[in-house]
Amino acid sequence: METATTQKYSVQLSFEEIRLPPFDDILILGKKCPHGKIGVSKSFEFLVPNEFDVFEIDGDPIVDVIFINKRILKKMNKDTIINILKEKVFPFVSECEILKVDFKLRIFYNSIEGDF
């Protein structure tokens, strides 16, 4: 006795907008992540030309380079940023990983005084 079979499919569908590159502020590359400094720099040249600066991290066993948005560098010098990252982020980076960092910088003054 023959049994009839039918094929069905089910798709779960959703969509949302993304932007390239999929981050705004800082990108950290591990030493053995799939994408190296030159490859990422090259893709940034095409996607967001002249928006990021790249810094090699000497002496760190895990982190190879970091990309920092020039918009942030306008407000804070690179050494300060790198020192913050070294203390707060680098301990969580693994060698084969690329990490994006949201770095929302707000500058405020306690009081601004002057003569009328």
Partner: protein, 363 residues
Amino acid sequence: MEIKNFITNKYPVVHYFSGVNAIEDIILKNEYTVVVDDNNKFQGILTSYDLIKKPHKIVADCLTETEHITNNDSIPSIIDKFNKSHCPALPLFSEDNFIGILEKRNIIDGLSIKINELHNKSLISERLKYNFLSNLSHEVRTPLNAILGFLDILLKLDKEEINIDRKECESIIKNSADRFLLIMNDLVDLSLINAGHKLDIKIKNVQIENIFSDLKEYFDTMSGVLNKHISIKYLNPGNPNEIFSDGEKIKHILYHLIDNAIKFSDDNSNILYGHKIKDDNIVFYVKNDGLPIPEDKRVKIFEAFERQENLNNELIAGLGIGLTLVKKLSELLGGEVNFISDKTQTTFFFTIPLNIKQPVQDK
């Protein structure tokens, strides 16, 4: 060993921005690949070591710093660079320009061949040294024995009645002493030439007839002590009978060529020497009847300590430096030496330029 002999321009090439997954097979097959940019300019060498150390997606990111070889590097420093770099091939640069690739395996193969050559040469040198010393003692003892023997006879002549010609004895003693001196002079000359010193040459007007007759007289006297009969003749020099050169050196060269011809001549055969003009050169020749020079010996015939064998495979007497000196002296006089050898005759000849006005520089 020169570096240039090991440069290869046939090597695998990949583009700087190639994906690593696309070039893995090239690395596995060749152990390395050269990386170039859009303008085919050398960017580096990629090896499996690089792919493990920097496992990124594109070639450019995987490149590590490698050693460069320059024209000034010696073989030991090249080997040292290979060992430090973990790289089976290194680039050669000359004043920042990429020249080519040196592969480690080629250098190792070349060194291996060189070591074998040197080993074989050392064995040959050992044999030559042994032969030379034993020949030297023989060659020196022969004229010394003649001198001492005939001096004894001369001393006895006054005491006993011996039926021998005094003048002949004196002549043999004189020639043996000359031969002894010649052997010593040859050794000194050869060691000076090998040490890079210049031999003095005295250019002046030379009567060719005088050279030929002196040699004839010498060899006629010595024929008494030979164990074979050989007729030694020269063709009367025509024009020019006078040349501007070093007569002693010409006589020295001819002496060795005639002495050599005697050694390789059959019994009851002839030796003829003379000269003729060819173009701007005067050509001196010595022709003898006898066995041809074997093909395999011809290349090395002017090398020091090379000696030939006779019909019975016995080495011919001599130090093996005569033809070496002949070559050096001919060059010293601005000429060259060569030979023609067929089934029954061998002719050695050397040339001297006719238009020499100044001493020729040592080569």
